[in-house]
Homo-oligomer: 358 residues x 2
């Protein structure tokens, strides 16, 4: 028996919606069978979305017992880890325990993988009460089971990179892939120069996008950061040709500084998780250019109305986290770009500076 | 003296933000001068955004005196018509009274125009207390003054079309222009067939987008409507090859019906102003296809996470209301497409069925 490739057969409540929109999913129960196109994963770690983790930690004032109980309660009640307040989930790592004969994912028992889809649509059950989690980080060591559907995506963790580094890279791997695709398309038009502005360039998705932009043939990369400490990180990583320190929420201030640094941009990539960056991104982009919004804090109506109000003929993209080949591309960039790898290793050491997969 | 092309010189509170984000603008005061790159418009009609009008009407239970007072109070307090609850504005018509010597808009005194930017960023003052407005429609006859900046956009109202018809068309003219551009770009790729799905195809922006898609070379146009009454309108207008009656908020139901009608789409255009249509639009679109979201009810994060969760490699565009040449294109479509014009004339006669420029 095969399931729905989208996982509709595991939606309990309300019936008929997609797993992500569901209130409750049916997770794997030990001893039961799985559908022929599903994959069963023995989970060893959850990587909670930063916004979700922060919300729960603050609600329970850092009390480890209460935090553990709250996360466990969500997973038990909903059959998935989706924080009802923030709506976000995270990702997980684990080992393939069983791969249905009709699963198209190409996974085999024993492979160590990370999911590249959100926990908000992944059926999940926990077997160890999260007893090993000290709750001081959004990385949750645990024992449990997750189900992948035919249309889910997972990446086999590479043997040559530390797992925390791979996780951090895979968490944001859609950004460099889409950035690269957009820049390659822009290069096919007549212009010879191609200026790329990365807002939040010293963060995880921003630094990966900068490295991807370089590889795709960007002529000039302008990295925007909020403070001198971030500028120093970015300078050391050699990922930008120009570095601008600016408040991304100040449209005129930002675009003036971008202009002075060699702008406007042909392609602007928004990687900073604060609301109110739409105007600055649009104003920093040339007529005919493209803005890619990766920030989950982006307001759809603000982007649309601001561009219209400025008579800005810019193409505005919703940053889709899925682009074929995104995991390999991102891991490859980290392997081939020493400055990027060093920056990531610092970030992984000092977790929590930037949002992760919602 | 020239002003800021963006209108920053008329922002009073808070200082430094763009006019749209401002709480209060400095409108024209009779007897004062205007900047050399501004245009002064003698306003004769406001076209309030449907959501804004509905909110005010419901708040005051349809009482004309209170509704008039509320709108007047907003304009007097803010120097612009931006409903503080809905955040939306509308558009206006009027006659050019004075055009600054350095205005790049090419307008001349005496021309009857409509603004193509939102009232949320247009300095406005009212001289007649809105006394002629019976408050039964979002069209507000009035006397007042508005200011256009160097980067504002306005269209001269055509002599050959009734003003209410032109207004209705100009209100949504960004949608057909962007639809046409996307379809023309999609046609340059190798495929010979090009399937377009229009969700909300019998509405104003939807029907215009359908006509634009046809002109741009779409092979098959599938129009999605919520009910048989809308299907009848669309059938009569001859704008779609296939008509699907479906709830756009039901992803699986919608995509199954689109599939049966000849889908999936290479290009999907979302023109229906209800929340929760992201999943259905994405699922109805082929891998490698494009979704254009024109609905202001679109959730950015829902679009991004749903596409990722479905491993849907679709390009998702924020529907920018500004595309060069959009007004001429839309008016031209209405002139050249009898079915479209007839549908619009019915809509203009029965106003309020669809949202207007926010």
């Amino acid at each position: 028996m095969t399931g729905s490739p989208l996982g509709l057969h595991r939606v309990i409540e309300p019936p008929g919606v997609l797993p992500q929109a569901a209130w409750r999913l049916e997770p794997y129960r030990p001893g039961t069978t799985i559908a022929a196109d599903e994959v069963l994963v023995r989970v060893d770690r959850l990587n909670l979305d930063a916004a979700s983790y922060r919300q729960i930690r603050e609600t329970y004032a850092g009390d480890p017992g209460k935090i553990r109980a709250a996360v466990l309660e969500i997973i038990t009640t909903r059959g998935k880890m989706q924080n009802p307040v923030t709506g976000s989930g995270g990702m997980l790592t684990g080992t393939v325990e069983r791969a249905g004969s009709r699963s198209p994912l190409g996974l085999h028992p024993g492979q160590r993988i990370a999911t590249l889809i959100s926990l908000t649509l992944t059926p999940l059950t926990i077997a160890d009460s999260l007893a090993r989690w000290d709750t001081r980080s959004e990385q949750v060591p645990c024992d449990g089971y997750a189900i992948l559907f035919a249309r889910s995506i997972a990446a086999v963790l590479p043997a040559d990179l530390p797992v925390p580094l791979s996780l951090a890279v895979l968490d944001v791997c859609g950004a460099p892939a889409l950035t690269q695709r957009v820049i390659k398309q822009a290069r096919t038009s007549a212009r010879s120069d191609l200026v790329v502005v990365i807002i939040g360039a010293a963060g995880k998705s921003g630094s990966l996008s900068a490295a991807a932009a370089r590889e795709a043939g960007a002529t000039k990369i302008i990295g925007v950061v909020p403070a001198e400490s971030e500028a120093a990180l970015l300078r050391e990583a050699l990922l930008a040709d120009e570095i601008v320190i600016a408040d991304a929420r100040d449209p005129v201030g930002l675009s003036d500084k971008v202009q002075a640094a060699g702008g406007p941009a042909d392609v602007t990539v928004v990687c900073v998780d604060v609301p109110g960056c739409e105007g600055g991104a649009i104003l920093s982009t040339a007529q005919g250019g493209t803005v890619i919004f990766f920030s989950m804090a982006t307001s759809f109506s603000s982007a649309a109305l601001t561009a219209e109000g400025l008579a800005a003929d810019v193409t505005m993209l919703v940053g889709n986290g899925y682009v074929p080949g995104h995991a390999e591309l991102a891991l490859g960039l980290v392997r081939s770009t020493p400055g990027l790898r060093a920056l990531f290793e610092r970030r992984v050491g000092a977790e929590g500076a930037e949002g992760s997969r919602p």
